[in-house]
Structure formats: structure tokens, C-alpha cells
């Protein structure tokens, strides 16, 4: 036996001893999902960036003494300086304050829209996919109606009826966004329903809700989570374009989209990079971090990947 082999066997013996003593088994305590997530570096990086931006927006008043809507006509389009970290815009509003306060609205609209839509989509989709039959047929047609309806028209109608507000934008995002998630949840449940462990639960006669939402849903969730994060990212940008058309959040309210839209002219683009660059970077970072986190969460919920 060579030296290397000896060492190898020694190591094996040690592992076996530990296993017999039950040390290794005990070490695995704690949530498997959590340890999986923690070991995913990209996801952790995403989580850190997300948390920083999120907390900065929430605690905006502590980070800046400026108000986002206060106009200062003595300081028009000033580049970044000690007083104004991100500079000021065309009417002299502090951009740092606007980015922070704008984040509040943008995150609320995009997050609320995506999560609200996901909640409806997942609940309806998984139960319809699980049960099938008339429930499935009705909800399927319903989702097709919502999908085929042009979003812009819907927004116009909503704005005329209920007026322009942040809340309406969220409602519109929920209404137009749920059907994608619904279809995904339904499709996943359709295939999971045929798995034998589900049949085994039927053989015990367990409650439908319990089988559907507790036992089956976790296995359908991973692609849905990715879709939700993509939705959040898309909604942030969509809110910007709706606001630009004057259909979204009122123009005077600071949002990431409104800040970007205000800089959409050649002069600003060429001469005042501080108006569009910082907010662009923040949007990109935020969207990217959400995607990383979503990817990480997907991996933790995917049981075929071991932690």
C-alpha cells in the first residue's frame, strides 16, 4: 500500500466513523433551502444589492435632506457636487433625493403588480391545473381574454374611469400580468398531477387543497419564481413608459421611469449625463439583483439540485 492509498483509506475510515456516530447527519440541521441559497454566491450578491437599494429607498429621509419635488431655480442642471451627490435636474430638483424617493414608487408599483398578479395566477392556475374539468376550461378562456386584450387600451380605459394614480397602475399590472403566471402554474400542475406520489396521496384520500397547495405546488414553483422576477423587471420599465405617455404615475411624482423620461432630449443626453446615468445604473442593478435572487430561489426550490 502506497502512502497515498494509506491516507485515502484513513480518510474513508474517518468519514465512516463520523457517519456511524451520527455526527454527519446532525450537521445537516437547519433548512436545506437556506443553506442552498447561502452557498449560491450570485444569489447572495443579488440579495445584498437588492437589500441596499431597498433599504435606501425606505430610509430615504435619513439619507438626504432634500425633498424630491422641491424646485430650486438657483441650481438648474448642476453636475454632481458635495451639496447634490447626483446633481440636479432641469428645474433644480436634487436627483439623489429623486432617485431614492422615486425608488419607493417604482418598487411598489413593479413589486406590487408582479406579486399581486403572481398570487392570483398561482392560486387559480395551480388549482385549475390540478382539478381540470370545467374550472380549467373557464379560467383558461378567461386568461386568453386578458392576454389578447391590448394593454394600452386597458390602461386608457382605466385612467379615464378611475383617474391617474399609482394604485391604478398596480391594478393594471395585476390584471394584465396574472395570465402568464397562471398558464405556467397550470402547465406545471398538469404534469405533476400524474406523478405517482400524487396518486399515493389520493390513495390516502387526502383533502384536495392539501394535495394541491402543500404537496404539489412546491414542485411547480421554481419556473414561476423566475417568471415573477422577470415581471418585476419588466414592470419597472413599463411603468416608465406609461408614465411617459402620461398614463401612469403622475409626472410630478418622482419615479425611476419619470426621471429617465425627463432626460429624453438630445441636449440632456449629451451634456448632462448625471441626470440619466445614475438612475439608469440603479434600475439596472436593481433588476439584475432581483434576477440573481430569483435564480437562487429557483435553485433552492428545485429538488433535483442538492444542497
Amino acid at each position: 500500500m502506497t502512502f497515498g492509498e494509506k491516507r485515502f483509506h484513513k480518510k474513508l475510515d474517518k468519514i465512516r466513523r463520523l457517519e456511524e456516530e451520527g455526527v454527519l447527519a446532525k450537521k445537516k440541521k437547519g433548512s436545506r433551502a437556506l443553506s442552498k441559497f447561502m452557498s449560491n454566491k450570485m444569489a447572495m450578491l443579488g440579495l445584498v444589492i437588492f437589500t441596499i437599494i431597498f433599504l435606501a429607498c425606505i430610509f430615504a429621509p435619513l439619507l438626504t435632506s432634500y425633498r424630491p419635488e422641491v424646485v430650486d431655480l438657483t441650481n438648474l442642471m448642476k453636475p454632481p457636487s458635495k451639496d447634490h451627490i447626483f446633481g440636479t435636474d432641469k428645474v433644480g430638483r436634487d436627483l439623489f433625493a429623486r432617485v431614492l424617493y422615486g425608488g419607493r414608487v417604482s418598487i411598489l408599483v413593479a413589486g406590487g403588480g408582479a406579486l399581486g398578479g403572481a398570487l392570483i395566477g398561482v392560486l387559480v392556475g395551480s388549482f385549475a391545473g390540478y382539478r381540470g374539468g370545467w374550472l380549467d376550461k373557464i379560467t383558461m378562456r378567461l386568461s386568453e381574454v386578458f392576454m389578447s386584450f391590448p394593454q394600452l387600451i386597458l390602461v386608457l380605459v382605466m385612467v379615464t374611469i378611475m383617474g391617474q394614480s399609482t394604485r391604478n397602475i398596480i391594478i393594471i399590472f395585476v390584471i394584465t400580468g396574472w395570465s402568464g403566471i397562471y398558464r405556467q402554474a397550470r402547465a406545471a400542475m398538469l404534469s405533476i398531477r400524474e406523478e405517482e406520489y400524487v396518486q399515493a396521496l389520493h390513495a390516502f384520500g387526502l383533502n384536495d387543497m392539501l394535495i394541491c397547495f402543500k404537496h404539489m405546488l412546491p414542485n411547480a414553483l421554481s419556473p414561476i419564481i423566475v417568471n415573477i422576477t422577470i415581471n418585476i423587471a419588466a414592470f419597472i420599465l413599463e411603468e416608465a413608459s406609461l408614465s411617459f405617455l402620461g398614463l401612469g404615475v403622475p409626472m410630478e411624482v418622482a419615479t425611476w421611469g419619470n426621471i429617465l423620461n425627463a432626460s429624453q432630449d438630445m441636449y440632456t443626453l449629451q451634456n448632462a449625463w448625471w441626470i440619466w446615468l445614475p438612475v439608469g445604473v440603479v434600475i439596472s442593478l436593481f433588476v439584475m439583483s432581483i434576477n440573481f435572487v430569483g435564480d437562487g430561489v429557483r435553485d433552492t426550490t428545485d429538488s433535483s439540485i442538492q444542497g
Binding site: 451520527g22 447527519a25 436545506r32 406523478e195 405517482e196 406520489y197 396518486q199 399515493a200 396521496l201 389520493h202 390513495a203 390516502f204 384520500g205 387526502l206 383533502n207 392539501l210 402543500k214 404537496h215 412546491p218 414542485n219 426550490t301 429538488s303 433535483s304 442538492q306
Partner: protein, 336 residues
């Protein structure tokens, strides 16, 4: 098995028909099955793929509701027709009957630990405290030759044979009397098959279980079964004690099946009976005897008349065959 036998399950003219979308046709997956399962026996159910074995197994448990016939289960308080029971009343039957599935990959929930996935059924059947549930699951795992600690592991951490044993443990969770093993060893390799079959036999002895063992593997069926039923296109062709069937099959279909078992002997030159063609579609059944399209002994009568199930007593044991020429086969046997 000549002592007095109590039936535990009696199927009478059981039918499972599936409507075909867009057409007027029906798929007759199970088409009039009469079968008695006796307490404490292992009834093997063999047949080609697509002959309705699995559907019959699931219909017995009412996982698929049969469209016709009766399924009478002998409960402690007398026999009852499962088909007439509502979903809620069936809980009573679920305590008595369970199922072991074919595919060890999909028979366990991948995102739950073993204990988590077994916990809810136990809760439903009245085991409220968590300690008690953990004890039951642990005891069961030990009974299927696994460590108690495994209950906190996820299915991905087990091999196919281990998962299958966990599947068996799950079927035993609420102490059923009858277990349907649906191709329970087909997905395993041979050495593991033997291990699982021996485990099933051990459990049967210890707990006095009754099995309906569904398989397409004739050697497995011979090894584990007391009696064997041969199925073809949704109907039973022949039922007999396992050794009688393997020695003296009377139905041409059974003979053809048995001749296909490989024998590990170079000098063994058994005549193979080759079946021509494919199994006919269960949507469009052949007239008369449903085997006549492929039978080597097919006569005019086979195309016209459906053969009745006839019962013979050979050596004091029942042997049932559905073939127009079973009398001849019986006479031949007598002469030998």
C-alpha cells in the same frame, strides 16, 4: 391452499371504459373482469403492456372510478360495494387497501423529506401528535430494513431500491390488509428485485397481508404468487394456482407467454410459440374471443362467440379458462 379461504375482494364484471375525445368510441381498458382475491394470498396479474393491468389495480382502489360492475370488499362489519361508496365513505376502504407504485423516481415527493410526505396521511387517519407520527414512520422504515434516521432525508438521497422500500413503507402506513403492487419491482435491477420481493414476502407473513401483484415479468410472478391471473385486452383469460399454471397452461395465450420465458440451459430447446402482430386496439375490440386475431388455434367459432369462463378441477385445485377449446386441453392433460 386447500384450506378454507375467505374472499377479501370480489370483482364482478368490473369495467373501466374511457371516452375518447372527439370520437364516439370508448377505450375499454378493463372490460368485464370477474376475480376473487382471497385473504392472505398473493394474486399475480400478468399480461402484455396495455392490457389493462394497471387500470384494474387502480380501479380496485377507486383511484380510477370503474364505469361498471361491482367491487365488493369484505370489511370487518360485512361486505360493501366500493363502487357505490362516496368519496368520504371510501376512507374506510383506504384504511384497508393501499398501493405500491412502479416508478421509484416519481413515487416520492422530491421536495419533502420522507417524514414530511408521510405525515399528512397519518394525521388524516388520527395520529395527532408529532412524536407518535415520527415513531410510526421510524418503525416502518426499520421494518423495510432501513434506518430510522432516513426519515429526515430527501428522496434524491436514496437509490431506486431504497425508494421502492420507502414506497412499501408508505403503503403500510395505516395498516392495510390488501396491497396492490403495481409493477412494484419492474423498474429495479434483478438483484434489487429479489431483495424487494423477499421483503414483500416477509411483510406478508408478519402482517398477514394480501397482495394483488401486477407485473409483466413472468418469472417474478411465478416467484411471488400463489395464484396467477392472465389478462389480455381488458379481460382475464386464465386463472390458476401458480405452479399449475406454469406447468400446465390451458389457454393458448398463456402457453405463448410461458414459452417466451428464457431458460438458462443451452440444451433446452423448447418450442417458442410466436404471437403474430400487435395487440388489437381496445377501442375496437375483435369480435368473439378477443385473442382470436393472434391465436394459433383459431377456428370459426372463436371469431363469432365470446368464450365463457369455465372452471376445471385439476388435482383438487381450481383452474379457470376462457377458451372454446379448453375441454380438449383438459382431455389432453388427463391422458398424460
Amino acid at each position: 391452499m386447500s384450506e378454507k379461504r375467505n374472499p377479501i375482494l370480489t370483482l364482478r364484471n368490473m369495467q373501466v371504459h374511457f371516452p375518447v375525445k372527439g370520437k364516439k368510441a370508448v377505450v375499454k381498458a378493463v372490460d368485464g373482469i370477474d376475480l376473487v382475491v382471497y385473504e392472505g394470498e398473493t394474486l399475480g396479474l400478468v399480461g402484455e403492456s396495455g392490457c389493462g393491468k394497471t387500470t384494474l389495480g387502480k380501479a380496485t382502489l377507486q383511484l380510477i372510478r370503474p364505469t361498471g360492475g361491482e367491487a365488493i370488499f369484505e370489511f370487518a362489519d360485512g361486505p360493501q360495494d366500493l363502487r357505490k361508496m362516496s368519496n368520504k365513505e371510501l376512507d374506510k376502504a383506504r384504511k384497508e387497501m393501499q398501493i405500491v407504485f412502479q416508478d421509484p423516481q416519481s413515487s416520492l415527493n422530491p421536495s419533502f423529506t420522507i417524514f414530511q410526505s408521510m405525515s399528512d396521511p397519518l394525521k388524516k387517519f388520527g395520529v395527532k401528535s408529532k412524536e407518535e407520527r415520527r415513531k410510526i414512520v421510524g418503525d416502518l422504515l426499520e421494518e423495510v430494513n432501513m434506518q430510522r434516521e432516513y426519515m429526515d432525508r430527501y428522496p434524491t438521497e436514496f437509490s431506486g431500491g431504497q425508494r421502492q422500500r420507502i414506497g412499501i413503507a408508505r403503503a403500510l402506513l395505516i395498516n392495510p390488509r390488501l396491497i396492490v403492487c403495481d409493477e412494484a419491482v419492474s423498474a429495479l435491477d434483478v438483484s434489487i428485485q429479489a431483495q424487494v420481493l423477499n421483503l414483500l414476502n416477509k411483510l406478508k407473513e408478519e402482517r398477514g397481508l394480501t397482495y394483488i401483484f401486477i407485473s409483466h415479468d413472468l418469472s417474478v410472478i411465478e416467484y411471488i404468487s400463489d395464484r396467477v391471473a392472465v389478462m389480455y385486452l381488458g379481460k382475464i383469460m386464465e386463472i390458476a394456482d401458480a405452479d399449475a399454471l406454469y406447468q400446465e397452461a390451458m389457454h393458448p395465450y398463456t402457453k405463448a407467454l410461458l414459452s417466451a420465458i428464457p431458460v438458462a440451459d443451452i440444451d433446452h430447446h423448447k418450442k417458442r410459440i410466436l404471437l403474430e402482430g400487435d395487440v388489437p386496439s381496445p377501442m375496437n375490440m375483435p369480435s368473439g374471443c378477443r385473442f382470436h386475431t393472434r391465436c394459433s388455434q383459431c377456428q370459426q367459432i372463436c371469431k363469432e362467440k365470446v368464450p365463457e369462463m369455465k372452471t376445471y378441477t385439476i388435482g383438487g385445485r381450481e383452474h379457470m379458462v376462457a377458451c372454446h377449446f379448453s375441454d380438449e386441453a383438459y382431455r389432453n392433460m388427463e391422458q398424460q
